[in-house]
Symmetry: C4
Subunit: 291 residues, 4 copies
């Protein structure tokens, strides 16, 4: 039995290092992991630059294998230190961790799997977990509730933009035609969105007087309607700030803030947001600290 | 007389399926119609892509005829199931339904009527009715009243932008001249609007030092003045939200919401926005349900 | 004496037609003038299009002379129907009226005075007086006071943008150099403003990796800082609306609105904004109506 | 001892001229310095224009030496008139003054030090001190606190934009490939930021149908998310204005304003923001005026 206690304690100590950041070892782990993720993204980028790849192919290749092996070890460690591994494996970050580890193994099996580069770029999403960015953003809940409240309106708004793009795109296709770069309706709709969003690449541009006149209308439309989503988010955000002030007293806001800075993570159910002095998980009752 | 009752009941049942969405058949009809509209838009787009049209011309041609015949049947069904057909025919959606159905018939009579493609793109507007998007947008009336309140100001503002574009366009025509792409004043005004709205195609760009200096002023002007319409909509929207909160109690807002989700549509006068338990139309007194 | 009364009455009747819009003749005069101004702008534009000028040179030439003569008559009429002609001549609209009338006379005296086209484009400013746009805009005084309140901050802000453009422009000149289109610092600063304001012509674009990296920073800076002027105007406008609501009762707002729709214009001092039932000018005491 | 009094008085009188602007000599000094700074920036710019440099090389060269020597004298004067020279030398403006003076001396010692042009462009930052722009901007503290409050959120937001750019950039690299200008991932990410920020140079543009479709998504994303930072700054600024109104009475705001317009600068500790009638520095107790 003594052995099992040690075993639990060993897994729990590792859990504290990997999942939490309030011990020196836990903080060090996060910093090292952050450096490896950014390094691996740099590797992906440099590998695509032909002049660099030609010169340093071997370094990049071994670097990628080092990162892959380290990520594999980390993935296995994350799985074994959690009491309910399936909960981690099928969580959002669990899937991201898995997908960003496997590309190298697949490319070993299948030759020329070029598209795996995109999977490797997914590693960037892992930065969100380490920096707890999502939690930091949602902290005051103001921005989240502002976006939530304006989501429906902005969706309908963007849908209206798309319909305008299709109708104006069809008209431009008829007016300009293939000889001026408006080869077909999908391309013409693409041009229309480029114009409405004020991006304006200029790879395709109207050349007839009528086409330029219609383009003018599209541009002024695009310039004017950007005010609508901006106004909505701005107003909803103002409202959300005001509502929160009324609902929560200063003490409660202080309490919320402390929750968000606490990095405790339950070994059993992976739930976060624990209070500063908490000894047991508020979701499953499992003990949080094993000293 | 019994026959006529059956007849009315048959038309009313069809009316419920076509115009409303609270029976399983009504919902199925809406979903099927939505799929056909999107499919017909896809047909219009694919037909314009030469490589696809060359390969699958027949499939696209028969597809278009299938859609046209189905839309024709639907149009006739809409007309005969309404008590006052003219009211439907000359309503906004009635005209859209008609225009998006006829192109194929006209192209049958008149050869080479290329411009009818634009009419077929109008079919997208029908999506608005099915998804009841307009109603959904106007739901809270906040956005609608914000845009209504800022409409006059934004119009005058856009008019000022146009005058600035004409005056700056004339100056740029004098400064750059035809040798740098500013062929004439209308084209120069077009370039000016491209710049003021921060689209910036780059098909025409100033090349003299003076022209680039004036372009700088236009760009900073365009960058600065976008703040004005955005500020107006934002402030009006905040005000509209506040006003509505004061005017309506929570119960009334709840009531408004239920009105907007109800899909009942009177067989006699086509008015919508009925209360959830309503048995008779609140506009013409006509019975709503025939069970 | 009887003669002089008739004379005054004749001048005053003309004054009412030209300067005011509450008699049928006054309204007709405004509509006709509006049409002539827009027609004259159209003439300026069409004249610059070579293919049109080649074909219809004579029509455009005689059209321009017709407009010039009519504007001359109108200018003289405006001068003689006002009691203090110098007040009109040196007012903003008086100068605009004069400048938009003379170009044709000068071109008659001086051959090849190409630059006069710009003067002719100034005619568009006259539309502002006819539509009383400036007054309409400033009506609620909210937008005016919002822009006034944010003017200083936006100026300093734009100045900061300019300094950033000069410093980044110098850096880009050093990084990219003349071989990639960054010929000299002024051109590099021009490119920098094109990028900061998100216009992005693409006539000049960074080609080295370092240049593209710095361009990325400039673009994100430009994308981020547009939030500042927008936020300022939006907040000031919200404040201005709130302040006005507190300061003025509904009756006073109603009164202000009636002032702004009244088109009476004093024959003596040209002051506008008279009350609906006013018989005498509130500035100089001169009688307003001679029936 | 009498000599030392004269000496102090001489240094203090110079200090008043150089650092303050409430004597005629002080104002004149500021205006002259402003002219020299703008002239020196103009010199830097003109020197980079080859056609101008070829013609007026000598004038530009001697002009630069004149400016350098004058700035050197000013720098020495600033150092000796302050009681604690090190405090000035290592202050922000002290470093800017030093860096914008030395380039000419270095280029005298080291031949071909091209990069020093960037240092000379730093002179523009000195304008901020003369116009007291930073103080003017921060005056009401509203904008400052709005930006401070939204800084964290905007940072996380921009970080999310960067991650989106890397992931979409990788996808575009795979879809378009080197043959359409997407040579490698860093360049593809650069294009992605050009598109997300709605700059749209058009030096690189997607050419395949799939690439254009993904570009459409990126553009709509970029068009939609600009609403978020704008909404945040706008709402925070509204809140900051409201908070300040509550915190400070009108008298206190008046007092704050007078502080900000006062140009007194302590000879001992260089602290500014003194009250209008103050005789002694409120930070170190040193006498402010020596009449």
């Amino acid at each position: 039995m003594s052995k099992q206690t040690t075993n639990i304690s060993w897994r729990d100590r590792l859990h504290e290092i990997i999942y939490e950041a309030d011990t020196p070892a836990g903080k060090l782990f996060d910093v090292v992991l952050l450096i490896f993720i950014l390094a691996s993204i740099l590797l992906v980028m440099l590998e695509s630059v032909k002049t660099i790849d030609a010169k340093y192919h071997n370094i990049l290749y071994y670097g990628e294998w080092t990162v892959t092996i380290l990520f594999s070890i980390e993935y296995i460690a994350r799985v074994i230190t959690v009491r309910k591994p399936w909960k981690y494996i099928f969580s959002f970050y669990g899937i991201v961790d898995f997908l960003s580890t496997i590309p190298m193994y697949i490319s070993f099996a299948l030759a020329g799997s070029h598209a795996l580069v995109a999977l490797r770029a997914l590693r960037l999403l892992r930065v969100f977990r380490i920096l707890k960015l999502a939690r930091y953003l949602g902290a005051s809940n103001q921005l989240a509730s502002a976006i939530k409240a304006s989501r429906a309106k902005i969706s309908v708004f963007l849908f209206a933009v798309l319909i305008a793009a299709v109708i104006f795109g069809t008209i431009m296709y008829l007016v300009e035609g293939a000889e001026h770069g408006f080869d077909n309706i999908p391309k013409s709709v693409y041009w229309c969105i480029v114009t409405l969003t004020t991006v304006g690449f200029g790879d395709i541009a109207p050349e007839t007087a009528l086409g330029q006149f219609i383009a003018t209308i599209i541009m002024i439309l695009g310039y004017g309607i950007i005010a609508v989503p901006t106004g909505i988010v701005s107003a909803e955000y103002t409202k959300a700030s005001g509502d929160q002030k009324k609902k929560f007293s200063d003490e409660e806001l202080e309490h919320q803030k402390s929750l968000q800075l606490n990095t405790q993570c339950c070994v059993n159910c992976l739930s976060e947001t624990h209070q500063d002095g908490a000894e047991f998980c508020h979701k499953c009752g499992c003990k949080l600290h094993y000293d």
